[in-house]
Amino acid sequence: MAAETGTPTTLTLKSNDDELFSVAESAAILSVTIRNMVEDGCAGGVIPLDNVDGKTLASVITYMNGISAIPADEEKKKSYRDKFLSDKDFETLADMVLAANYLNMSCLMDAVSAKIAQVMEKKSVGWVRRKFGIENDYTPEEEAAVKEEHKWTFEGVETDDDN
């Protein structure tokens, strides 16, 4: 996409599955990784992002555009983040946290981590294992020993409900 005169600078990002995305530089520099490239003058052509696939990058760019359109108002940014993450399934969240880590976007990383934590907390161990496909590689004896060690943490409300 050729830059038209008078429009803000746009950058072209390339996912690891060769999808190309145009994004305004002002939004893209939310990523410290990209900002460093821009500052070092390495952002002229296409910026390859080897650790991010197209689907995830599209999501991240939606987030970049959304959050950078909000003026400095932490409350509004927070509610945008909450809304943005509310409909994401776990697989997407996991991809996004990895992408946020690679792109060095701490605000997205914190928000996604908090969201995953929110899903996990207060749920029973069985629920978390099922939901996230965590393989229980403890022997029954080992599992009983860990449970005994942290006995006090297993008291209280746990739920198997999906909500």
């Binding site: 996991a94 946290v97 099922r130 496909g133 965590i134 393989e135 403890y138 008291e155």
Partner: protein, 367 residues
Amino acid sequence: MISSSRVAFSLVILSAAIAVFSKLPKNPLPKKKKPSSQCIVKEEPSSQCIVKEEQSSQCIVKKEPSSQCSVENKDMISELPDDILILIISYMPVKCGIRTSILSNRWKNLYRYLSNVKLNCGDLLSRHLLEARSDHNSSLIVYSLNRFLKLRSGSEILSFRLSCCLSRYQFIDLISSLGGLGVRTLDLICLSHCSTNTCFFPFEFLSEIPSLRYFRLSSCILQQPTLESEFRFNSIQILSLSYVVVCDGAVEFILSNCLSLHSLRIVNCDCPSKLCFSGPGLRLKSLYIFGCGDLEEIEFYADNLVLFEFFNHVLVNFVFKHAPRLESVFLDVFNENVTPFVFGKLAKDLPNLKSLTFTKDHYFKVR
């Protein structure tokens, strides 16, 4: 030779298994570590498996290799790097975070890297004990707490916050457990709804946490220790007391024990009528006093004091014996006109003052 009823029976099992698969797509199958072309489902004795079978309560189903088996089981969360998993755990209440250790070996020790720990009675006691207040058994709290801290030995806790009700001796135990954990910020709140409402805090034992820099104490009693041998230095730089009963001699004791103290806040405390901020080599730079009703006189002999902020409903008698570096004073006295004092005695006592603010409405608003 296989009888037709056998075939029908196998089909029932197979379709039951498929039903289970489609209902619970994320159900982790017990992974046998063989690179199997078959997927073996061991059903727990469950209501889902309604198969009339004579010999066994388990039903073992042999199923054709299916793409579902490999895809649905992918444990993506455990594949995340350690620092991200620790970040995720840090967003949970501590109790939930520790509970993740039961998930699998991958998760067993991750909670140990949490560097900010916040706990309260409710976390440490089970719910039914907490509701029956008469049974509010602090020894159980201490047991859980010590167990937790013992398991933490070897990894640092940067900040530790506990809102709970402990006795003096339980606090001494806690402080000694925290000693080797590198705690820099300590925040202790003695909850008032507990049966033992009068907690004498063992301030002198804080020397056992050599890494401590910031200490906040709420809702308990500070006494001057009776024994001379209790005189131990600690490394606190910032101290904040709120809703604390400050007994005679306690502030003087603190100043002589905290040789690195540069900032002290005393908020809504019951103080003796006279407080004296003096001491050899006192490093105190900033002092903030807010709403301490019983105060009548404050005496200063503070070499390094730069900032003094005072919010109260009445003015007290300030005795500036020695405050050569005091640059800024902020006075907010609600019930009195401080103008004659400011332009009279204060101006005379503090000729080097660079900034002076006095108002009478802020105190009321903040309160």
